[in-house]
Symmetry: C2
Subunit: 361 residues, 2 copies
């Protein structure tokens, strides 16, 4: 099926992920399709709820494309949620206004945990349909990124049901019943790999694993309960489709202390948040993986000249790209819903301008 898609006109993002030379640093933004855009809010209102937007391929396609019509972004990312997999397991994902995602049912005891199964991918058909439709609509403009939450990050929500300040519920299970924790994570890893492979089959040209909550774990626990299961996902992941490479990106928010280990689990690229020194990270792991990041999303609340300076700092921190290195510009976390879209224009244009400059300097 994917062989019927139009040829790619801008492959800068994919080449950077594969540490091949590019004329400039490609840029996309986590949560680039979202509430900071008035045109997104209009579709969101039409759809009624976040989930009815996400589950409707027409709407999902429309909002995925929106930021590309405004900004010169070098990649599109499927509009969806990191928690679709546990939703498909029957936990009942929902969103309350102004709050994070929640589940109607959570894993409370051994019985719940042992009943857990890899979901029927038919329950996630709406995601794969959206991927194919987006890819068709993109018509080769830029590559499409598929994604999922990491096994650990999914588990955080599955055990607790919603966000948490101190992760007491999930960490209580981790420290007192590590056997149950591992059982959940084994199933999650298999589910995430199956899910991402189906996104690749449907047309995703790169995939990203969001380990949004790996950074709350203790050293030791991170390796055992998050890193190991991302490695397992990557082991099961397709690395090409119809002879074309499918690069993968892993991102542990708050995991800057562990990037040397994260670079060794088989992903092509490692995402970095703003606490990481990009230049040092390049020295450390830039010969093994491409780097993605890492501007503080709050820098977008400054004035245009200041935003340009912050972008320049990131570009300079990575330094002039050389053979075998790759940088994809991004924020260190999702863009804030309060961001002025004009500031994103400033950012995207500055990335292209300064990154062309540094290549000729």
């Amino acid at each position: 099926m994917s062989s019927s898609f139009a040829p790619l006109q801008n492959d800068t993002f994919l080449r950077a992920l594969q540490r091949q030379p590019t004329e400039y640093t490609p840029v996309w933004l986590m949560r680039q399709a979202g509430r900071y855009l008035p045109e997104y809010r209009a579709v969101r209102q039409k759809a009624g709820s976040f989930m009815s937007l996400a589950k409707n391929p027409d709407y999902a396609t429309e909002v995925t494309i929106q930021p590309l019509d405004r900004f010169k972004l070098d990649a599109a990312i499927l509009f969806s949620d990191i928690l679709t997999v546990p939703d498909a397991m029957g936990l009942g994902l929902y969103f309350e206004d102004g709050e994070g995602p929640k589940f109607e049912r959570t894993l409370r005891d051994e019985k719940d945990v042992l009943a857990l199964q890899v979901p029927d991918m038919a329950n996630l058909r709406y995601v794969f349909d959206a991927v194919t439709q987006i890819r068709q609509t993109l018509n080769g403009r830029v590559p499409l990124i598929g994604f999922s939450g990491s096994p650990w990050t999914l588990a955080c929500y599955m055990v607790k049901g919603g966000g948490s300040k101190d992760y007491r519920t999930i960490k209580s299970m981790l420290y007192s019943r590590p056997d149950l924790m591992h059982h959940i994570l084994r199933i999650n890893a298999q589910a995430v790999a199956t899910y991402l492979n189906a996104q690749i089959d449907a047309g995703a040209q790169a995939v990203m694993i969001f380990d949004s909550w790996g950074g709350v774990l203790a050293d030791g626990a991170y390796q055992e309960f998050s890193l190991a299961y991302m490695r397992e996902v990557l082991r099961l992941l397709k690395t090409e489709k119809d002879g074309v490479s499918i690069p993968s990106i892993v991102f542990t928010k708050g995991g800057g202390l562990w990037i040397d280990q994260l670079a060794d689990i088989g992903a092509g690229a490692v995402g970095l948040d703003w606490t990481v020194n990009l230049g040092k990270a390049r020295e450390q792991i830039g010969h093994k993986v491409a780097l993605q990041g890492n501007l503080d999303p709050m820098a977008l609340f400054a004035q245009p000249e200041q935003i340009r300076q912050q972008v320049k700092n990131v570009i300079n921190s990575f330094g002039k790209p050389t053979a075998g290195s790759g940088h994809v510009f991004n924020l260190g976390h999702g863009i804030s819903q309060y961001t002025n879209p004009e500031s994103v224009t400033v950012l995207v244009d500055a990335v292209h301008e300064f990154s062309r400059q540094i290549r000729v300097d």
Copy 2:
């Protein structure tokens, strides 16, 4: 005045901070006097509010001593709040039930910022009175730690008024008006130093700077807006009182990536949260500073045997203390209010047991 205090019976904590040999690893816990103790909750109820407890030296003394009567802790820490300084600046600190600290007035514009002044230490008399009374009541049992929030951490609350999910208000100021941010921080640094010096004069035998929110800053911004001002505090700090050394501890929560820089600003010890590998940290900076930490407070929600194992892991991770190294056992953050006090007994006894063992092994 402090010369009238009783001689110290247990100086293990102070010796470890000064990287001198100790028979075992001393232990205290951040927030060891607090809501997880029923005897604390009784005093808190009697006092009415958190602030009326903190502002009454009798109550403050009583709750500071409580955990020492239950557990074989090697240090006491003044019962107070990290935000007393901005309260004394006139911002009106208060606590809503179940929520974090808030201020009635915040710094909203240039006018507010420029009006800010180092507070009259007379407004903080209740703190110094409590320090002296606690020191007298301790009667030499263990040393007393004084503390303050870091200049940056105080500023987070002063600009925003309360907790924040994305630090948008304070970071907007940081990125768009760095001049105002620096103005606040210069005043905070002077205020914190004056405040800690007055605590030392009143009887504090060690001081700790809590940079609870330094970890939310971007690399670069951390050095400029948090680290630099902790260095300034330390530059102004007394290092001895009546010929006795006063060790200092700095702790940036979430600052594991910057501990090499944190070890270079003049403090005697660096606090570590649970994301840091203690053994690696010792290799990195253990010859320059003592290390304090770093068990995940959530490990206390496991069963006794599991808590013992987690304690053992931390002790083993630091390894056998040798000349010129020092370790103070602590959690990587304040103890949770939901902790079972019995679990703290298990922890404290395990620290003493395993750390004696590793010294003879």
